[in-house]
């Protein structure tokens, strides 16, 4: 286990640490019980148990040897006990579903964190991959 996050930005670092330990329980423990998390392909997990199960499944397989690194690009206080954190990440060492090695990927993880006193926890998360040079996907215009 890691130290409980006592600042909004610590939550992003704790997320990456749990990812790199491949610790689905520790990762899920960073979320509130009723958290919503939309991942990069639009899967929507609606509570802590779903978040833990999904990460256990991927960290037993495609993300088993992956490493997530990044930096906190923005922290904005939205209310006394609510903040947004943007974490800009690079993922290396992942596998494709067929077991071959996947290339590095980059993205932006948005965390809306809540001060649960003492620990800040993630109440809402949404992840989006960065497709350089695009304003919308090729051949598939999107907002």
């Amino acid at each position: 286990m890691s130290i409980a996050p006592t600042k909004p930005e610590d939550v992003a670092k704790a997320f990456a640490d749990a990812w790199n330990r491949h610790d689905a329980h520790g990762l899920a423990d960073l979320f509130t019980e009723d958290a919503n998390f939309v991942n990069v392909v639009g899967m929507w997990w609606k509570n802590r148990n779903e978040i833990e199960g999904a990460h256990r499944a991927t960290h037993d397989t495609i993300f088993r040897n992956s490493r997530l690194e990044g930096r906190v690009s923005s922290v904005v206080a939205l209310a006394a006990d609510i903040a947004s954190v943007h974490y800009t990440w690079t993922l290396t060492g992942a596998s494709a579903p067929d077991g071959s090695r996947a290339g590095p990927r980059e993205g932006i993880l948005l965390l809306i964190v809540q001060n649960g006193q003492p620990a800040w926890r993630i109440k809402v998360a949404q992840n989006t991959d960065i497709v350089p040079g695009m304003i919308a996907p090729p051949g598939a215009a999107k907002p």
Copy 2:
């Protein structure tokens, strides 16, 4: 112009209305001046002017004849004057960059909205497309 949103969920409806009028100014006016918006390919607009410019550029081109429809799937109060809104959307009528017609696409737009009294405005937005049947993109495993 449309009526100012007086409830969190009204902001999502006003976003779709402005989109369908192809009204970049009206769309941007739904955001706070200092809003952050990460789009589906990881472009990160960091204020209202950037949001307006980006939407003007796309609504003059690939989204000129597009139509955004959807529904508010979740509204969660995060603080007295802060809420999260998940808007699940379908986009039709968009063009690909080469001018050919693009197929319909689906996604989830997360809006963190703030009560500016009287109008609720978007402080943080992040959009992700739904890739059915995927837990991560094929051949490009991502968190």
